[in-house]
Symmetry: C2
Subunit: 387 residues, 2 copies
């Protein structure tokens, strides 16, 4: 690999201003953004993005699912471009940076290369993926998932929002059903700068991190069946309390995840008592469990320890507990040649798990740089080191 140039800096003020320019499309009163995918605000930001890319000399094309590809030519056009980008749609109560940073930092990289008169060996392609958030249409990350072959285009086009509008109809309504078949634009690598959604960088006083792997995920649906009885007349030793059983499971999961930490987390995010009443001992509870690690051996240990702990709790408390593994995603390890190059970075950034998940099945897996929201205005990382 060629050495990385160390003296090239982006114009961080320009990037900051550009981000705030897009924040107007769907701005909410308290400084947030509501820009649901394929809605009128999304059309506005897409139109703006297309114009800005074209102004930077890029050739923009759109695929059949509305994902936008803005190509900057390289010396060797026989090679597939490096992809840079993220998404411009937001959650219903979204912020200014999630997704936007990755897309506009890519634009800023191109602008900086333009200003410096640099021609890269391979082309660069900025991507704005359709519906990464998934809050209007399910699933989230549908267009990038179709790009890597997880879904067919027709399947995704037929998905409906809460009002019954299909993705296809929504694309047509804003004029963003492109002509290019999904997957036409090949990419050799893909780098996504993203804000970190978790608290690690802040807790460790760091400004940037590189995601070297995507966590594996174990999702379980659980159910506890104890015995519903009266809170006043049932002595403590005779109870088969589903909530007390769940409580032990919650604390066991916490303890097991800590034991296998730091590369392990375990969460019970949902727990619903079947017929809740102030004076009735809960007899039945449905719950979900989410366990993650980027180490497959640790994932196996989490599963094993959890099942053993639950069996013990169920036996001791004389309740029935069933857990069904409803999703098992193995860990993903990003391309180490990209992931080994953290570089000086400029922008407020918090990584989201979404960016990690998306690329798990992408043939051009690579790293996402993550930086801390509190620090901004240095020079942006050049996360496309093979160019």
């Amino acid at each position: 690999m060629s050495p990385v140039a160390s003296n090239l800096q982006i114009d961080s003020a320009r990037l900051w201003e550009t981000i705030h320019e897009t924040a107007k499309f769907g701005a909410t009163p308290k400084g947030g953004v509501r820009r649901l995918t394929l809605g009128p605000e999304d059309k506005k930001v897409r139109d703006w993005f297309r114009k800005s890319c074209e102004a930077a000399g890029l050739e923009v094309h759109v695929d059949a699912l509305g994902s936008m590809f803005a190509l900057r030519k390289g010396r060797d056009m026989s090679k597939p471009p490096i992809g840079l980008g993220s998404h411009l749609d937001t959650q219903p109560t979204g912020g200014k940076f999630d997704g936007v940073l990755g897309t506009l930092a890519a634009l800023e990289v191109v602008r900086t290369l333009n200003d410096a008169g640099i021609e890269t060996e391979v082309p660069i392609c900025i991507v704005n993926w359709t519906n990464e958030e998934g809050s209007r249409f399910a699933p989230a990350m549908m267009a990038s998932a179709a790009y890597v072959g997880d879904f067919t285009t027709d399947d995704i086009l037929s998905r409906k929002d809460a009002e019954g509008v299909t993705v296809g109809e929504a694309l047509d309504s804003i004029g963003y059903r492109g002509e290019k078949p999904v997957g036409t634009q090949k990419l050799s690598k893909f780098v996504e700068l993203h804000i970190e959604q978790g608290p690690i960088l802040e807790a460790e006083g760091k400004t940037i991190g590189v995601v070297d792997s995507g966590q594996g995920v174990l999702w379980y649906d659980g159910k506890i069946t104890g015995f519903e009885s009266h809170a006043g007349s049932t002595p403590m030793p005779l109870r088969r309390d589903a909530l007390a059983s769940l409580s032990e499971i919650v604390l066991a999961m916490e303890s097991i995840a800590k034991k296998h930490g730091p590369n392990a987390v375990g969460t019970i995010g949902e727990a619903v008592i079947a017929k809740p009443s102030r004076n009735v001992i809960p007899g039945e509870i449905a719950f979900t469990m989410d366990c993650r690690s980027s180490d497959a051996a640790i994932m196996a240990a989490l599963d094993k320890d959890l099942r053993a702990a639950i069996a013990g709790i169920a036996a001791r408390r004389k309740v029935e507990v069933t857990i069904d593994l409803v999703w098992h995603k193995p860990p993903t390890h990003f391309d180490p040649t990209a992931a080994s190059r953290p570089a000086p970075v400029t922008m407020p950034a918090i990584s989201t798990p979404s960016c990690r998940r998306r690329w798990c099945s992408c043939p051009a897996r690579t790293a996402s740089a993550t930086t801390n929201l509190r620090t901004r205005r240095r020079s942006i990382a050049r996360q496309a080191p093979t160019c």
Copy 2:
């Protein structure tokens, strides 16, 4: 007090048949009973009850809330009668015995006295209270509560069911709005035989118990505020998990109740995660707590220990926990002259907390006998020993 006759036995077969006779009014396919208060089935059982009482020589009158009083004269009519009874309404998915046993056992006592030609010193009055269950109109036990002065008659008459029908309208529709003002029929004592709703008698292999006190109750509304964060990206040590905090509170309450047991129970019957999601660490949970003991000192200790435990959990887990005491009912101690006389008993019986609660403010507090459903057909307890 005069000695209790020991050779007087009821006709347990007759009582058993009588109970099954009433079970036809509102019978459900699997052997249960659906006889909502003041509905057409309740009218049928009331008509039947009136006729049966009159056939036993009793004088039946009805108060303004539909409670039925069937009087058997005593030698000294200047003294208020001993009350015996319970209720004939059921839950929507009720059984044959709850309430019915207490009402019909009273009738059986009268029939037995009649058969033996016994005249009692003071009168006996069988009572069928209106709407003990509370499943059609709230609150439960409304007519007996009005009898003891907890509500005005007009207040209760204006209460509406889910269809907007008032108690007054429902009484008129079945012809059971009586002329006697509520409280007119004085009672010196009241004894209620009732099935036990809890598991104690069965667990201890006993067939009857006497309720010597009503539990005091502490009801709390609680709220835990932690921090909602992503299940994948938030390391275990940085979490402020509301559900893990609740879990510790549930187990602390269980442990505290056991420590103060056997005369103490503690239950968390409701717990609702604010925005539950499979991959989000719960940030906020609302919950309720129910603590009971028939010993006021233990109740105070439960409250104190619980608050201390919760404060410790909140501090350690860096979450905010508020608990508001929304109801504090002190313990009730029944008349020991009645409660000290357990007698041979015949009928399937499981005590319900409702019967205990009702009499907490009654000037004629006395005991409820409770027997186990598994044993039947002995001789019925004479639970009115002062006659």
